[in-house]
Symmetry: C2
Subunit: 685 residues, 2 copies
Amino acid sequence: MGYDKTDELAINTIRLLAVDATFAANSGHPGAPMGLAPAAHVLFNKFMTFNPKNPDWVNRDRFVLSNGHGCMLQYALLHLFGYALSLDDIKHFRQVDSITPGHPEAHDTPGIEVTTGPLGQGFANAVGLAIAQAHTGAVFNKEGFPIITNHTYTFFGDGCAMEGVASEAASMAGHLQLGNLIAIYDDNHISIDGDTACAFTEDVLKRFEAYGWHTQHVVDGNTDLEGIEEAIEKAKEVTDKPSVIKLTTTIGFGSLLEGTGGVHGNALKEDDIKQLKEKFGFDSSKTFVVPQEVYDLYGKHAAEGAAAEQEWNKLFEKYGEKYSEEHKDLKRRLAGKLPEGWQKCLPTYTTKDPAIASRKLSETVLEKIHEVLPELLSGSADLTGSNNTRWKKAVDFQPPNTKLGDWSGRYIRYGVREHAMGAAMNGLSAYGTVIPASGTFLNFVSYAAGAVRLSSLSHQRVIWVATHDSIGLGEDGPTHQPIETLAHFRALPNMMVWRPADGNETSAAYYMALTSRETPSILALTRQNLPQLEGSTIEGAIKGGYIALDNKEADVTLVSTGSEVSICLEAVDTLKEKHNLKARVVSMPCVEVFDAQSKEYRLSVIPDGIPTMSVEVMSTLGWEKYSHEQFGLNRFGASGPYKDVYKKFEFTPEGIAKRAALTVDFYKDVKPLRSPINRAFQQLI
Amino acid sequence: MGYDKTDELAINTIRLLAVDATFAANSGHPGAPMGLAPAAHVLFNKFMTFNPKNPDWVNRDRFVLSNGHGCMLQYALLHLFGYALSLDDIKHFRQVDSITPGHPEAHDTPGIEVTTGPLGQGFANAVGLAIAQAHTGAVFNKEGFPIITNHTYTFFGDGCAMEGVASEAASMAGHLQLGNLIAIYDDNHISIDGDTACAFTEDVLKRFEAYGWHTQHVVDGNTDLEGIEEAIEKAKEVTDKPSVIKLTTTIGFGSLLEGTGGVHGNALKEDDIKQLKEKFGFDSSKTFVVPQEVYDLYGKHAAEGAAAEQEWNKLFEKYGEKYSEEHKDLKRRLAGKLPEGWQKCLPTYTTKDPAIASRKLSETVLEKIHEVLPELLSGSADLTGSNNTRWKKAVDFQPPNTKLGDWSGRYIRYGVREHAMGAAMNGLSAYGTVIPASGTFLNFVSYAAGAVRLSSLSHQRVIWVATHDSIGLGEDGPTHQPIETLAHFRALPNMMVWRPADGNETSAAYYMALTSRETPSILALTRQNLPQLEGSTIEGAIKGGYIALDNKEADVTLVSTGSEVSICLEAVDTLKEKHNLKARVVSMPCVEVFDAQSKEYRLSVIPDGIPTMSVEVMSTLGWEKYSHEQFGLNRFGASGPYKDVYKKFEFTPEGIAKRAALTVDFYKDVKPLRSPINRAFQQLI
């Protein structure tokens, strides 16, 4: 309370930085920053605790701009509060290699918590951040030691409110009673097509009420700073529900085009900027102006944040004296280190072990490692029994009053909400104290594609336990059988797609997924049983591809993944018997990891001189990179018992051998026959 | 009203067919059919008008089982009412090559309107079917001639209710005031993880109210047939809002495990089936029993439906006398034919025409063809001005009381709801009288991946106007720049991915998209301007790939798409000047269509003897099929003016020429150097 001219000045400074930056870039979105500057000012300067000099402090309040196109709002704030984001960076808004790209990117810009812009994602990330706080607090807070107490705040617009991913996340947050989550809905009535009356006329607050949220409405979000403050204060007081504040604002406040779509996604015109600066009492001949009072005001708050961190550090040190195990554990997690020797818990197998579905093998891994990796949070989008994602003694992450679990629980019931699950996992990972792994059918990871690509782009260690990975799921049929899915995610940069062939490879997949701090993983796992292979080891598999069966005199190399590797091994005998050909077999559980090996190693696996044929029971797209010929399934599958389906499509030793023989014959005249590993030039990375 | 023993018998027959079929298959979902049989009985026998002998009759009521795993409910109904689905088909439930697959597939099974199973899709399909009815009715109905009056009914479960795609669609349907849509929510409190209390505790009806729906609750969905009938009756009376009826049911009604997750996705045990049959008064030693009374009861209703169609045919004939143009138009649409000579309206270009962005070229196509193709319905997910999807004189499809358009409008404001847009387009296409085309950024087609794959699987002619197709969008940056997207959709069977290089190719893309009745299309279009190419023609482009610049003495073939084709053409000069090499250029706007050409033609385009290098500014995945070496972008892009971004990644004549020269050098010792068109064996299709 008690807002004065300096507050107004700060708000207008933010607005004008957004206006100048978008004008300089001749690109970007001035409207949202101009409308939201008052709320941002109140939130950042009155409520949020953070230290710009250490954006990684674990107990900082989190802020997520879900309507990420308004990022100049965030860049302006980060600069004014003293993060490592200079006025020069703002002048390079939307320029190549700047840290102020067109939408906020967490990995590259200090103070950006998560990568947003694709609508709805940030809102769902915020739900993940709030879950992470609630869980981490429950695990580490002790009487007299409120170590983890931060709030998560998010701004979202009409676009986010329309997106299904945000709806799913809001329903989830309501169920989970996340009182630490406060969302501010920018009700500006404008989306790109104009007035929201053309497509979006629902009662948003009533919908959030239906989800179990606490709701408020601030009618004048443009000037009623007290009203905004009161609402946020009240929202903080409600600790058993997430809160949403509908903030009615004027997009592009102050512009000649305020309140219209014209100010959403285009820089303002020169004359408009002129009148705006004059209206706000700024010198219209100058750009990128920051009055010293504004730096001072925000600098003071930043200093308070730094002091708060100092206090916290002291508290945490004392905490360490009393709770040394917890202290050590949290410090380790924050350093991004896994417990020493944890990998010894990974199960290994020999051919004497029975055939087991890799979804079950995955369950065994979780069973074996969950105790030694307390930061691992599992879950499923309502397919727990099918994904095998829950270890026996798991406690659900649930509000205690549900009697279904508690906040310290490590198993999240996401409901049938794949997209929100993916986006929430990004938030969980971004929080810094937990590693999320969650299950659905591989086919339905596609529902979350928008979130998955942001896991990759923002370097989040997120693990998808993607079971029922092919036509091998059988009876559920083509609607559930992935064909295009692995190609899709293999084409996504910074994503590891694993398709293990047996128990050792499943352990290897988890090893790599858990130790790759900056790369998400999809583990494609079978419904059907797979035999334990003779040549498989964790050490081989963590190279992404390795020789499963060697033969120095081979006529052909078969390269395969997952459930087809054992069929390839059988095909070797068929090739011998029926075609008098010798074959070697390569298991390639993860092409991305294989690509990272030395060329020498890769050539030893897929050598020159003989042709290579890939075998994978889905789209062949991309396999040309590792093989001369491809045996796959470039059509939809079929509903039936899986053995019948495999037979229908000739994924049998005979079907493989027949095609391998044709491959040998086809390439016998080519000299030199190079391995596809040899390339004329390097790809850009 | 007035339900008797025969009704009960019919309901129990449906239940037991589901039980017997899932037991025989040892797979499937008996629970939902058992719980929903009463509602299905009332709906189908009292309300729905349809003729099982002609499942294509346009004015039939539509039914969508959004919880498609309960498909035995639908198969049982189809059989009992006399559709071409025999008891033998039911006995082959979930067997290879049956017409009773694990989830309902529209393309293969008579009476199935849309392909469902992936949760939430069917609900959104139903919204599309309802839009199609409202629009078609508005266009064709005349005083005294209520030609198009059908309702759309859908059943959906908790899983669908949790999915974002259904939330988006529900919000859209509420805004659109679709009074012809009646949804029955199977409130059985069970999802795969058990009681919905673990993840789904929102107030569903309140949420639908917030969307603007009419809501009701039938407390006893198991036995209160009168209550179900009254609710549906009331829902039909509400014509200015879509209706949802929450129907509280017991999953697996009658089973020893009723009301538990145990009956959701597994066949019942033998002793359970025994007690169930005895309880229902059936002979427990027999399976797949249909009492004659049930055939008679449903046969009577089917006959009424057939008579209704006869009446309709007469009415439609009379309509033809008075409204011959409309009659002809509707008949043509129903026959799946486009108007004679429509393609003459497609614009053509010469090199004298200016450089134009392909999103603008697409707009010109729509401008030129919308009058001659009245069945074309355009729209956008709130990116109208960016996607350029709206012709100038377009009328919005809106409830007339909004004053923003009317029901005959052909432009749909989908809001920021890409997934629901994709699923609604599937419903629109399935209705049979319209062709949907809608816009979003290419990157956000991924949000709709779940719906897109069902477009392909169910053979729907759906057109995505996917603008901002690459790093060429510039400043919006990596969050918006597709890298993996084209690879994803090229790996999807029965999908045409078009990336036209100029005006003629854009016309060709539309020609193929509109004339391919059973294949959806994604048109990837640029934000930036593209020059009109010398060698481009519609005739060449509709082959999917063609020679854009020939040279009989070429050292290398450059194969490229979209915005990179013109850069490749420039690179030819650079290659000559800097490397003394001759090159030919192939433009390949659609690989799927190219694949369908004769081998002879394909080899003429990508010939033996010289190496081929592909150039496309995104993931190289899949290009190995058409080229020896690939120049692409296997990393995320950058935010900046697009020319700077292209330069950063070397997508310049120099960058291309350099790599082409390395390619020529690398392959000079290989003999014979075969075109990648030559394969050792055919792929299965």
